[in-house]
Symmetry: C2
Subunit: 343 residues, 2 copies
DNA sequence: TATTAACACGAAACCGTTTTCGTTGTTAAT
DNA sequence: ATTAACAACGAAAACGGTTTCGTGTTAATA
């Protein structure tokens, strides 16, 4: 077992100083050709690679970015993660992934742990609990210490930083409008508890679309499910007793579940009832019938978030002077039409 | 903006030495009560937290583990990742996630990058290309440098290290046996190119089960699809022209796709044809009909891999002496029966 | 009173680099 | 012969901690 070799060992072996070795390896022309070649040959032979930790300590840059997401077994977040990882990779950054599990405490702990020098910046989506508590002190402190932060999807106005979101309101509006244009009158909404920022925005889009098209808002057409709802009883009775001809779901899991229940109740899709979901993942594509869905372009979102973060990190290097400026990028959602609606 | 405070600054401010501050913060009883309290109060006031990088440099431990997986937008890997992350978290480790994208080169580059001090050990599943090339020098070198490594799922006999896998052969055997016991005679296999170790093992289990039950191996009943097959034409003709009454698929995506095609061709599931897939993910649960599936217990796999790795890392601390010993943990796959087979 | 032990603290080495700033020994210019 | 310039290298500081090993005071002991 050959442990990694260090500058010091090379120096001792070749009877030169550490500085000479360091310079020779960077082709400094302070060092003679002879010595340089000798050192480089030796280094190559022993597979010398500088120690990242030592480099980080010196440069105060880790080339790591921290990503905190509420859940990893979740198509949308996974997609965003991939976008982040891909972009980060091209820029030579590594990604440290933390899962908050929708827990406020885990979010706080993980953030504080990573903020102590392990990373150069954060990308995150708020946990459900954090949004519920409305407590963002950990984010504010992190920013205050000069750590760049980009929020995506699950954001908040309380924290001033770079953000990247989709136009949830407009997307929901657009989806509902399509259903109305298709002649649907009784359009249901299947959503989560309202403290989830994005769900709420989608609900608003739903309300507005109904209003603009002179459809009454019927509370009995709104089904609110707990975030990760395994039990299907609530939805069962909803579909059995409610007279509806279209359904908008705030995610694809709710949508596919709902479709199954509707089908069990003898409803034909899309003839009797049309479905549109959010999150255009693999479920939407492979459901029967295939689900018309609002694509959130997670991968692009991740890429943009990573780009914003890295730009800020590397700008901090250059110019300390200029005033901080924060942006919010809005990604346009797209409606992908499939078999669960008519076109 | 208050940058993080360091020991040196505290020392200067309080007119004591750096060592005194360091000791006081660890409640060393070398330091008087008075001084200790004064220092701790000051440190608390300024939110002092030791710099992780400096600690790592000193201790030669990063408390980071590197995870390299071929794909993150993939239910099984995501699940394993969650298991790793969860266990690592309880032990105070962070996870650096790299996606090889099934590319040999990305795998090599990422490994070499991380191996230079950024992490204490690796957990990985081999990329398809790596398995195809059968080139494992990067793994061997990493191990040779004393870096612990745990392989999961996509493993190889060429590399001697800790491993965790499921009993693919037996699982496939068991699945096919169930189909046979249900009276199926013409059982198809939908699989990937054979260089994927796990697919091959599953195929072997399939062959053996047929053989043991005196069913002939009919090559026309085997469909090999490229790894991420988007085009459905090949499968279309397969299901249209082949006379079969059951299908075993090596993953759930193939299974759900196949079911759709079969249904389009007027076949009833499970009456006319039964389906069993591998990877018991969300697709299996929400497909119509729900898919009978071999659960690979990814989360447990991740947890076990993380446990093995961290044990090895922390044992390395204690005893350098004793001989290395490597284990291979086999996780028992489970057949989850749903609507796509009769029971 | 001289010796010793306990106490409270500081100096310095160390982890592995980079980088600035000498310090030599030659060589060319005066 | 003297000096300036240059080439080639080393010493040391710095990054932010931990830890070992002094060292000076004071109090207890012989």
């Amino acid at each position: 077992m050959k442990k990694k070799i260090t500058l010091k060992q090379i120096a001792r072996e070749l009877e030169v100083s550490i500085s000479t070795v360091s310079k020779a390896l960077k082709n400094s022309r302070e060092i003679s050709k002879d010595t340089t070649e000798k050192i480089q040959a030796f280094a190559k032979l022993y597979h010398y690679k500088p120690n990242n930790i030592a480099l980080s300590l010196k440069s105060r840059r880790t080339k790591n970015i921290g990503v905190i997401i509420p859940d990893i077994v979740h198509h949308f977040f996974t997609t965003v993660f991939r976008g982040i990882e891909q972009f980060a990779d091209t820029k030579g950054y590594n990604v440290i992934a933390c899962v908050s599990d929708e827990s406020f405490e885990k979010e706080v702990i993980n953030m504080e742990l990573l903020a102590n020098g392990s990373i150069d910046g954060f990308i995150m989506a708020l946990s459900a609990e954090t949004q519920l508590k409305n407590d963002f002190h950990h984010l504010k402190e992190t920013i205050d210490q000069g750590m760049p932060l980009v929020l995506f999807d699950r954001v908040t106005d309380e924290v001033i930083c770079d953000k990247v979101v989709i136009n949830d309101f407009e997307a929901a509006y657009m989806a509902v409008k399509k259903l109305i244009d298709d002649g649907r009158k009784r359009i249901a909404l299947v959503t989560t508890e309202s403290y989830l920022n994005v769900s709420e925005k989608r609900a608003q889009g739903y309300y507005q679309a109904l209003k603009d098209h002179n459809l009454e808002l019927d509370k009995s057409l709104i089904l609110r499910l707990p975030y990760q709802f395994e039990d299907e009883i609530m939805s069962e009775t909803f579909f059995a007793t409610t007279n509806l001809d279209a359904v908008l779901c705030v995610n694809e899991i709710f949508a596919v579940r709902s479709m199954r229940i509707a089908q069990r109740n003898g409803l034909r899709i899309p003839e009797d009832v049309a479905f549109i979901g959010f999150t255009d993942g693999i479920l939407s594509k492979l459901a029967t019938p295939a689900l018309t869905s609002v694509a959130q372009h997670g991968e692009r979102m991740g890429e943009i978030a990573a780009r914003m973060l890295i730009e800020k990190i590397e700008r901090d290097d250059e110019k300390e002077l200029e005033e901080e400026t924060f942006r919010t990028e809005v990604i346009e959602a797209t409606l992908i039409e499939r078999e669960s609606t008519i076109n």
